[in-house]
């Protein structure tokens, strides 16, 4: 049963510290997405990769956030320095990236719950 995996599941850190979240997309998927979810803002898209190339990061605060795909099996999201307002659940999702006008299915990981004190 192929699944998206994310580590760590929970992270508590202090303001100013660097945070790195990791994601392993489903093998064979060529699109990867990073989302942030809060009660107030809902699910927000932070970054979108296709074939490991970043195609959209317009939703990501550029001064402190960065997203990369070092290889096809690993996507990372870094926050440096972290701030209390970054506290949220961060989800990674992957998809087949079908070229169609219709919505492509996204498969979500279990998320990383980040708390910045």
């Amino acid at each position: 049963d192929a699944r998206v995996t994310q580590t760590p599941r929970h992270k508590v850190t202090e303001m100013g510290q660097e945070v790195t979240m990791r994601c392993q997309p489903i093998l064979g998927h060529n699109t990867v997405f990073w989302y942030r979810q809060t009660m107030m803002q809902g699910l927000e898209l932070l970054a979108y990769f296709r074939n490991r190339a970043p195609l959209d990061d317009s939703g990501m605060p550029k001064d402190r956030f960065s997203a990369e795909m070092p290889d096809a099996t690993l996507a990372t999201l870094k926050i440096q320095p972290s701030e209390p307002r970054d506290s949220a659940v961060y989800f990674c999702a992957s998809g087949l990236g079908k070229t169609s006008v219709h919505a492509d299915t996204q498969y979500f990981g279990p998320g990383t719950r980040l708390t910045v004190l």
């Binding site: 998206v4 699109t31 997405f33 809902g42 699910l43 898209l45 979108y48 296709r50 195609l55 959209d56 989800f91 999702a93 998809g95 990236g97 079908k98 006008v101 219709h102 919505a103 492509d104 299915t105 996204q106 498969y107 979500f108 990981g109 279990p110 998320g111």
Partner: protein
């Protein structure tokens, strides 16, 4: 900007009741999806509707896509505690494989 608005935001009902939640937009979408998110997990796709007026059934869940492809509804018959969760609608953005998500309806079904 394509926005999806979901209503109600919160819904608490007793087991056995029926309910309908809505997803509305002023924009036309080529398709809409419904995801369910259980506590501590990521969203999971329930269904994709692609044709205006289309109705899809998934056991006790009935999904409808509006004729004008600007809205969708999810009806649950005889709700069960296992239906508890956050229901999200999503539609494709103009370009690429990105999705726009609605704010979600948080459903609680009490035994």
């Amino acid at each position: 900007t394509q926005l999806l608005e979901q209503s109600p935001q919160f819904l608490s009902i007793q087991e056995g009741e029926n309910l309908t939640v809505y997803c509305n937009s002023s924009s036309v979408f080529s398709s809409l999806q419904w995801y369910r998110q259980e506590p501590g997990e990521g969203p999971v796709l329930l269904v994709t509707v692609v044709t205006g007026g289309e109705v899809k059934k998934l056991k006790r869940l009935t999904f409808q896509f509006g004729d004008a492809r600007k809205d969708s509804s999810l009806h649950i018959t005889a709700a069960q505690p296992g239906d508890t969760g956050l229901y999200l609608c999503a539609g494709p953005r103009h370009a690429g494989n990105m999705l726009t998500f609605g704010g979600g309806t948080r459903l609680m079904v009490k035994p």
